[in-house]
């Protein structure tokens, strides 16, 4: 199927880009921190994160966009993620 990117203005199309939603990290009340000693690298946090801010390879969290929802901490089977109140 033909795919165009040069849409005339009549088509209300938008493409995903990093940070399109703005500085969403500033919404955070609690920051998730991964305890590397407890972590077994099961990647549950990576797959459950609704914002895709956890890096799959080194499990670094991108705090610019993490909203602090806590789903990763809730799903972690080893309780390796602590939610720490932001100052």
């Amino acid at each position: 199927m033909e795919q165009r990117n040069d849409f005339p203005s009549k088509y209300p199309v938008s493409y995903p880009v990093i940070g399109a939603g703005g500085d969403t990290g500033s919404w955070r009340m609690f920051r998730p921190e991964i305890d590397k000693d407890k972590c077994i690298k099961c990647l549950f946090c990576w797959i459950y994160c609704p914002d895709g801010v956890i890096d799959r390879d080194n499990l670094q969290i991108n705090y610019d966009f993490c909203k602090g929802c806590g789903i990763c901490a809730k799903e972690c089977p080893r309780n390796a993620i602590n939610m720490i109140r932001e100052e």
Binding site: M1, E2, Q3, R4, N5, F7, S9, K10, Y11, P12, V13, S14, Y15, P16
Partner: protein
């Protein structure tokens, strides 16, 4: 050229088959039911290469068509009356998303009280949804217009509603000449897609827009809907060149050349009205018929070009414009000719509501009684 002798509903199914439609989603409703039955039978037997989706209601039917168009499929649905009304919000979505859908609406009056028979209150109540609206007065025209509707929709990227009167056309058998498939294929060559969903290049479509972006999209839709008249004219003339058939473009005229008195109407009444014109002509009244084929866009310039100064115009409406002076076509015509209003007399007669019989004598009487013409 193949000859078909069948009911209006079955002619619709044959036209959809000829148009090489990829997906049909529909829900049965009287008097459109046998359109759905026939398409279901044709797809089931393999005679028609198309996906048929039996959905649970008209809202879903239109939503499924929108989804099909979103991946670039040629989609179709048919409905009638309450079914069309039930689709209402998704009709806006289809036009706002600029999806080239085609729908046949078998005109039927609306609830309440319950009724099954023809008038135009269903489709005319959807006039501001951004769909183009074409009206037919014979089964040959229905067949031709469905094909032309895809030609138009895929070029202007605006959905098209093809209207035919319930029972009068949907359940009447007429001979229809079907052009050869190669000719139809040539007429309906696939056009480049606009936006389509593509997992390899993900995008979001028609998301929340603020006051900075929203007005631009609506202005574009407004302008493109108005300018669709050129493509409707082009579709009719290309179709005539390829097949020899002509049903008019934005309007069709009959004996208008030297006329000073006119009947303007839409739908199947325009076929019967030809006899009224002949009758009035025999009685010495120089009468002509203007059939409005495209109600959206409204053919203001084409109508004005046919009507001479001093013309007397009788608009025959098969609907009530509730809260206005008369019928909806009457209001539209008056508005479009307002700058010439001092020079043209426009009268209105509402008839044929809820399938009540309309014959050529009644239409001729409407003309003679409006201007006290002695016969």
């Amino acid at each position: 050229m193949k000859k078909l002798f069948d009911t209006g509903c079955h002619v619709v199914a044959q036209a959809v088959k000829c148009a090489d439609v990829d997906m049909v989603a529909a829900y049965p409703i009287t008097p459109q039911t046998s359109v759905v039955e026939e398409i279901a039978a044709l797809t089931e037997s393999g005679e028609m290469n198309c996906r048929f989706l039996p959905v649970e209601g008209e809202h879903s039917a239109m939503a499924a068509c929108v989804a099909a168009a979103a991946v670039g499929a040629r989609a179709f649905t048919a409905t009638s009356s309450q079914g069309l009304l039930y689709m209402h919000e998704v009709l806006h979505m289809a036009s706002g998303c600029r999806f080239p859908l085609v729908m046949v609406n078998v005109n039927r009056a609306v609830f309440a009280p319950w009724t099954l028979w023809a008038d135009h209150s269903d489709s005319l109540s959807q006039r501001d949804t951004g769909w183009l609206q074409l009206y037919c007065c014979s089964l040959q025209e229905v067949f031709n217009t469905i094909l032309q509707a895809y030609y138009i929709a895929e070029r202007v990227r605006i959905p098209v509603m093809v209207n035919m009167d319930g029972f009068i056309l949907s359940h009447c058998r007429m001979i229809v000449n079907m052009p050869d498939q190669e000719i139809i294929d040539k007429f309906l060559q696939r056009q480049p897609n606009g936006w389509i969903a593509n997992p390899a290049n993900p995008s979001a479509y028609a998301c929340v827009t603020g006051a900075d972006l929203y007005p631009g999209f609506r202005e574009e839709l407004f302008n493109d809907t108005k300018n669709a008249d050129k493509i409707i004219v082009e579709a009719a003339s290309v179709y005539r060149d390829l097949t020899g058939f002509w049903d008019g473009d934005l309007i069709d005229t009959y004996r208008c050349d030297d006329a000073d008195t006119f009947i303007v109407t839409i739908g199947s009444m325009a076929a019967e009205a030809r006899l009224s014109i002949d009758l009035l002509r025999e009685q010495g009244v120089k009468t002509g018929l203007i059939k409005i084929r495209s109600f959206r866009p409204f053919p203001a310039a084409a109508l004005s070009a046919v009507l001479p100064d001093g013309a007397r115009v009788m608009v025959l409406d098969r609907n009530y414009g509730l809260g206005t002076e008369g019928g909806i076509v009457f209001s539209e015509l008056k508005a479009s000719l307002f700058n010439r209003a001092a020079k043209i007399e426009i009268a209105n007669q509402i008839m044929g509501i809820g399938g009540s019989d309309v014959n050529y004598q009644m239409m001729a009487d409407a003309v003679t009684s409006a201007w006290d013409i002695r016969r």
